[in-house]
Symmetry: C2
Subunit: 514 residues, 2 copies
């Protein structure tokens, strides 16, 4: 275990006339062999007296490695090495998750999530950027909302665990570039306008006090490579080991935006694009965020539809993973063709609603509003445009590095969307490439995981900084034929069906009634 | 000029799609060649936007070298390199002096002095130590008094110079160990009790904000070697170059305590002892601190006495430099013998007052109280004990390093006492060794001077730290025969007159009427 923080119980030699070194020097000398010349900030210098004397020179020092040197963050009488906890957090624009980690065992002691309080000031990132733009008092509101969110999570973790979390020596925090800017009290507007240069991409270590947090220790913020390639992605790369693998790995964080990284220990290439809110259920007429009443999984066999609803409640709509299933099942059952066009002859559930073809996926008696729910032709086209963009991002990047899908050792799908989606369905509709299932790994909140990984292994600090330093960046927006390349990817699974042999085989088996 | 602070006007490349580095990285990259990896604290990161853009990427950066790396302390639009000032101060227990220095030319722009506001809480250091002992609120009073004193001096310097002093990037501060403890908010009690270990002897660099000062920049506090060998002495050594000289130099700060250092670039030996308040006029019955109405110089020829009075006022008493003159003149005129005993036959001014022999040095009509002023036999004995202690400290130290006075290249006398004393008189009474006048140098407030020297030459930072690291320390109090050694030094100039050939010659010439 080489965590970002260490504790050390010291028995110091009491001062004598022959050795009248100051308490400060006495402590620094005792730490030098193991930790080099450590930093001891003034508030801790002030604690030296009478603490050392009262403790009869038996004290415990808590230190944090900041990438350059060790810094003392706490000084306590006696041996307190049994208490050694740290924090890892993912600061998302919608929700924020924090973990309390036992730094001796590496075990997660407690985990808490809540909505980012900034949502009250703007539901999406863009609204918040404009809210804060050139308005320091609004920016301060956003900053405080982030700080309060983190403080509240610490409070909840304290309650849940009985561990006094505010005493933790270190919090490792991963967030996208805008979230990081707001937490630092930086205007996010330059991230919105070309050339999208951040104000600060490498905040590094700050004290809890500097950030206004109720935390005695230090806070490490993951660096960003570019505006869309934020600390959350860098953290995810640390979690998945993309930057240190021998074989080529793909890391894809799919959400409102899609962030993609391809690489190994020899190179790293990244790119980002607007994957579109369709994936989160935003554009689909009966779409909704994952939550109670959302259809998260769908199975169709002929006229029979089986829905899995979050919370087991009456149906309110369909979320991202449900949409992917719905599309995949409609395609496999032959209810839509490869262009996504309804084939009314294939199912009695295909009707015309308000002049538009639609598929009735939920009956009136199953729904919260007592009305049937439909999946519309236009919903399908919207979603296919989005999945085409996502697929083409991956395709284009592999082409840029002269590779094909066969060269890919591992395909990581990050984010909440990736965590709940059925890999088979995503492959079926051509959102994911046709890779063997064992090569596809849904890593969920890899941003949080990377923060925990770094908290428990300080070597990862250099890895995170190395990723930022060596990662190349594709500006998809600047590629002239990018939109054209997407056309073929709008088909299900793809106009070039040879790319999806497993889907073709599976479909043939379903059609033949196997 | 390699001052502790540098300013640099930069023309940064504006961000483009090809080069979308963050503002923070852009600035750090531009500084790397000349300054290495500099530190940019959060408050300055917050100033980057929109400052850089509004200034069209032409900005001036102010940096301070902290001994390990450069730290940015200010960021301004446009070219402001013409404004570059720093501060040097001596934080004395009685008075505090601060200088505003133009870092481009090295010129002292303004200098201000005032009483340390701590005097209201305790006239001497010991009273203050006991006032603060185990009473955090009293310690805080003392800390604030020091802070307010420094703040007021900065205000006065601003008024005197028109330079906005609070914007200075750096203040170099030299103070004794107790003063430094109080400024840091540290209890000074351990400095009072054996083994006299300080709480913090090497405070190094702190921000003005950490100390509570109205100063945007950093504060460097000179390190201490031991409780009595404080930052003021280390600063004086830097000013006089004792630690880098080829020949042996002596540095003697005489006041209530005497601090002595002997050395050269090869070794440094230090010691301290209670020189006694006699030197500051404290024990002498008509003694007083240097100030209006104090006799500062005395000449005697037969029955004629010529007095030089501070402020040209009516006489109130005699200060340290006047006492040294008085003793020297009484001895040279044969009015006292080598033991300091009055010879009534030598002057009509020697009378008996309240049963004790005394010399009338001021007539009733000259004094503020309209009564004659006397120098008593007991005053003389008191003072001789003090001068014997001071001389013996020097003698003992030279013996410890196997040297004699002939080996001494330079004898520096520091402190206000040394600045006003006549070297010839001090040699005559045997307070100073009998060195050629050009070898004796009264360096006045060398603590302030060393602060200015370091402010203007950052190489001196390593010198100051090197002095602390390599200086050996004699505990005079622990030397068993120290008091015995003093007996011979109680004589005027010394029982061994061979040590004072110039005094013997001078006296003979005076006696023979030359």
């Amino acid at each position: 275990m080489s965590a970002l923080s260490e504790k050390r119980f010291l028995t110091l030699a009491p001062p004598t006339e022959e050795d009248a070194r100051g308490d400060q020097r006495r402590l620094l000398d005792a730490l030098r062999e193991d930790f080099g010349e450590v930093a001891l900030p003034l508030p801790l210098v002030r604690r030296l007296y009478p603490l050392c004397r009262k403790a009869e020179w038996r004290v415990t020092v808590t230190l944090v490695w900041n990438g350059k040197n060790w810094q003392v963050t706490d000084l306590e009488p006696g041996d307190t090495t049994a208490w050694h906890y740290g924090l890892a957090a993912d600061l998302g624009s919608t929700s924020v998750t924090m973990e309390l980690v036992d730094l001796r065992s590496g075990a997660v002691v407690a985990r808490e999530s809540m909505y980012n309080r900034q949502t009250a000031l703007g539901s999406d990132v863009l609204t918040r950027i404009f809210y804060a733009k050139d308005q320091p008092e609004h920016l301060e509101e956003l900053r405080l909302a982030a700080v309060e969110t983190l403080d509240e999570l610490m409070g909840r973790l304290t309650e849940a665990s009985g561990v006094e979390v505010s005493r933790c020596p270190v919090l490792v925090l991963a967030g996208n570039t805008v979230m990081t800017h707001f937490l630092l009290g930086l205007d996010g507007f330059p991230l919105f306008l070309s050339p999208y240069a951040p104000v600060a991409a490498e905040p590094g270590f700050l004290t809890g006090a500097e950030l206004g947090l109720h935390l005695a220790g230090l806070v490490y913020l993951f660096p960003a490579r570019a505006n869309y390639m934020g600390g959350d992605i860098i953290s995810g790369l640390v979690a998945t080991g993309v930057a240190r693998s021998e074989g080529i790995r793909l890391f894809f964080d799919i959400g409102t935006n899609g962030e993609l990284v391809a690489g190994c220990r020899d190179f790293l290439l990244s790119g980002a694009g607007a994957a579109g809110p369709a994936l989160e259920g935003g554009v689909i007429r009966t779409g909704m965020c994952a939550g109670p009443g959302a259809v998260e999984h769908v199975d169709i066999r002929g006229e029979a539809v089986r829905l899995q609803v979050i919370g087991g409640e009456k149906i309110r709509g369909v979320c991202g993973s449900g949409i992917v299933d719905l599309l995949a099942e409609l395609y496999l059952e032959g209810i839509i063709d490869f262009r996504g066009t309804f084939r009314p002859e294939a199912s009695r559930r295909v009707t015309t609603v308000e002049g538009e073809p639609a598929y009735r996926y939920a009956e009136a008696e199953e729904t919260a509003e007592g009305r049937p729910l439909y999946f519309y032709q236009s919903d399908i086209q919207e979603f296919l445009a989005t999945k085409a963009a996502a697929y083409t991002m991956v395709e284009y990047m592999l082409k840029a590095i002269g590779m094909t899908f066969d060269d890919v050792e591992k395909f990581y799908v990050a984010g909440a969307f990736g965590a709940y989606i059925r890999t088979a369905s995503a492959v079926t509709i051509g959102l994911y490439p046709d890779l063997p299932e064992e090569k596809v790994s849904c890593v969920g909140n890899s941003s949080l995981e990377g923060a925990r990984v770094l908290l428990l292994d300080r070597e990862k600090l250099a890895e995170a900084e190395g990723i930022v330093a060596r990662m190349d960046y594709i500006q998809y927006g600047a590629i002239p034929d990018f939109v054209d390349s997407m056309s073929a990817a709008r088909a299900i699974p793809h106009l070039d069906t040879a790319r999806y042999p497993s889907v073709m085989e599976w479909k043939a088996r379903r059609q033949s009634g196997e």
